[in-house]
């Protein structure tokens, strides 16, 4: 199992569009991918959009990402990159 910490940086946080991107990406890997709020207020299966949305990760939330499985390294890198890049959303 591999893990890392990452901060939500985009203005709207893990809203529907961002969550959809994340879930699509995570679902592309064989490994199980989980997100946990560093304040311990919740954890989510990164392949379930309902679970990700309920995390209510607004901008600034610190998340612990874990991946476990055959392609765990690649999965972790991809998810970290997506979140830390603000989901490719342009800021105003």
């Amino acid at each position: 199992m591999v893990e890392c910490e990452v901060r939500v940086v985009n203005r709207l946080g893990l809203h529907a569009r961002a969550a959809a991107k994340l879930v699509r990406m995570a679902s592309g890997f064989r490994s199980a991918v989980r997100l946990e709020r560093c304040d311990r207020a919740g954890a989510a299966d990164a392949k379930s959009i309902l679970s990700v949305l309920v995390l209510a990760a607004a901008r600034g939330t610190e998340l612990k990402v874990t991946a476990e499985g055959a392609d765990e390294g690649a999965a972790l890198d991809a998810v970290r990159e997506l979140i830390s890049s603000g989901f490719g959303e342009t800021e105003e």
């Binding site: 893990l14 529907a16 969550a19 379930s48 309902l50």
Partner: protein
């Protein structure tokens, strides 16, 4: 008794007509997917696997619909705007949702609808706990997906693809999201069990110029898709499976109805109506649906007098961001042309949210609750986003902003302060901003009573007569049981209107009357008499109001209005209009165009 070819009997329902015209066509039932109609049905063990399969089939059907919608959205709006359907698709595919629903179906065992309700209720409860407002709004997405599943399970999927040329929509109630999904250009008539003159269905039907009858109570239950139906919005009647005699009788009325509303050609787009004694009255358009935009020019509107901006939200099911709003307002300006457009700030809360509560909780008395300007002042983030989008769009044309449900000057001042802050910020960010005039909706008696004070601090007045009648007379406009107390010509209402128009004139600011009252020729003439010189209405109503105004004299109208103001009761005022209009302008106002007597005796 006449029988249709299917052998089903002719049957009639009476309701409230909310637009003009008569149409015959085929019933298209539309299920509204409401949560309230979901019941628990216990299953026997042998039925369980079939129920799970039924659930899975509903998920597959919903998926296909969403994929089609997404494709359409990508084509119409581009990739970035279709993401919401992507999120909905992922929810439907969500392993957790599907596992939980199937577990409940099997373990209880219970029907799929109930299992979906239990699981999504639980999710919605978790959402209610979320602190971040924007993220909490996402509960509306769950609501939307759930509704779609309920409809799929009911076996009455949204038939947008099968919409035939002669479709007459029949529903318990039309939801804003349903309206967005259907291609209304092909709908011939609408008949619903609930709703009133000012319901969403009614406003849209008038906007599109199609007949609509609401308040039919149990019609939906009796109609079957494909049945022949006559929707008669002149008589407020719906006939199911009409026999040959009935169809013949209606055919004559159908052709007459079709012949009447052809508008007289307008010499110049946006030209004011001219009364017989030479008084000019500007006629503007109320719009909310893109489908209505075409009517703005066609009917010769002098720009857009009222854009109900909350439709941007109900149409998409999500709060549009600043750029999306800015684009929508620019589009509106293109439609409006040189005379410009007036945008009403989001009128959310109360009955306007269409299920999108955006954090406003259940209220005991929503009409008097956190809605309109109050909602905007509490949810300042929403107000700020809208104000920014409006000021940016205002570089492209003349754009005015009107504040809904003002009851106190303080509301105006607070809103102005927020808007000015955002103007400063936009300028600091180096963004181009245009001038936006700020007006007050006069729709609460309190505002009419302090209209002279309000007029000194706003740039214009918009009189919203629907709410003004509702709030002055304390009558819920959507409640059929009190429909007979909803009296537009009540002297108290007329006094509020007169007072507001006088205050605007005294302060030298323009005023426009933009409630449904302005769209009814007889009432429009009363408004003229009260001093209104600018009326805004559904585009399709403009030709008949123009015709009525050009046939009357403003001086006579003023005399009749004066007499109405002196009346003691709504009955008396209506009688004055019936008698005077009938005598002065018998050709313009045959008896059926005047308010019918509805005295409670």
């Amino acid at each position: 008794m006449s029988r249709s070819k299917k052998g089903r009997r002719e049957a009639r329902w009476r309701g409230t007509p909310v637009s003009d015209g008569v149409a015959a066509g085929r019933v298209l039932r539309v299920h509204s997917g409401g949560r309230h109609s979901i019941y628990r049905v216990a299953l026997d063990a042998p039925e369980v696997e079939r129920e799970v399969r039924r659930y899975r089939a509903a998920v597959r059907l919903s998926r296909r619909q969403l994929l089609a919608l997404k494709k359409r959205a990508v084509r119409a709006l581009g990739d970035e705007h279709a993401y919401i359907f992507d999120a909905h698709l992922l929810m439907l595919e969500d392993r957790k949702l599907n596992e939980d629903v199937e577990t409940i179906i099997r373990s209880e065992p219970v029907n799929a609808e109930w299992a979906v309700k239990v699981v999504t209720d639980r999710l919605l409860a978790v959402y209610d706990e979320i602190k971040d407002d924007y993220l909490r709004e996402r509960s509306s997405d769950i609501e939307d997906v759930t509704r779609r599943l309920f409809v799929a399970l009911s076996g009455e999927s949204l038939p947008s693809r099968r919409l035939t040329e002669d479709a007459c929509l029949v529903a318990e109630e039309l939801m804003p999201s349903t309206i967005a999904e259907l291609d209304f250009a092909h709908v011939k008539a609408v008949a619903t069990d609930v709703g009133g003159w000012t319901s969403h269905t009614a406003i849209i039907a008038r906007g599109l110029g199609i007949p609509a009858v609401v308040g039919l109570r149990d019609f939906y239950r009796h109609a079957r898709t494909g049945d022949t139906v006559v929707v008669d919005a002149q008589r407020g009647e719906v006939v199911l499976n009409p026999g040959p005699e009935t169809l013949d009788a209606h055919r004559a009325r159908l052709s007459r109805a079709a012949a009447v509303p052809r508008p007289a050609p307008v010499d110049e787009p946006g030209a004011p109506a001219l009364t017989a004694d030479g008084v000019e009255v500007s006629l503007l358009a109320n719009v909310e649906l893109p489908a209505e935009y075409a009517g703005v020019r066609r009917h010769g509107a002098r720009g857009i007098g009222l854009f109900r901006s909350e439709f941007l939200l109900t149409q998409r099911g999500v709060m549009p961001d600043e750029d999306e709003q800015c684009e929508a307002y620019e589009e509106l300006l293109r439609v409006a042309g040189e005379h410009g457009a007036t945008v009403r700030l989001f009128d959310l809360g109360g009955d306007k949210s269409g299920g999108l509560l955006l954090g406003a909780g259940d209220e005991h008395n929503p009409a008097l609750g956190l809605r309109a300007i109050r909602f905007c002042l509490v949810r300042e983030d929403v107000l700020r986003t809208q104000a920014r989008a409006l000021m940016r769009a205002a570089t492209k044309g003349r754009l005015d902003l009107v504040l809904p449900m003002i009851s106190d000057l303080t509301d105006v001042r607070r809103t102005r302060r927020v808007i000015e802050e955002e103007r400063g910020r936009l300028e600091a960010e180096g963004k181009a901003v245009g001038p936006v005039r700020i007006g007050a909706m006069i729709e609460v008696p309190a505002a009419a009573l302090v209209a002279d004070k309000l007029a000194r601090e706003v740039d214009f007045f918009s009189l919203g007569t629907n709410d003004l009648v509702q709030y002055t007379l304390a009558v819920d406009r959507a409640n059929d049981d009190v429909a007979e107390w909803f009296r537009t010509l009540h002297p108290a209402v007329l006094q509020c209107i007169r007072r507001s128009l006088d205050a605007a004139r005294g302060a030298g600011i323009p005023s426009v009357v933009c409630g449904e009252m302005a769209a009814t020729p007889a009432y429009a003439v009363v408004l003229l008499g009260l001093g209104a010189r600018s009326l805004s209405m559904a585009p399709s109503s403009i030709p008949r109001v123009r015709r009525a105004l050009s046939g009357v004299s403003a001086a006579e109208a003023a005399r009749v209005a004066e007499e109405c103001l002196e009346c003691a009761t709504a009955d008396d005022a209506e009688e004055v209009v019936r008698a005077q209009f009938g005598a002065l302008w018998p050709d313009l106002f045959p008896p059926e165009t005047l308010p019918p007597p509805k005295s409670r005796g």
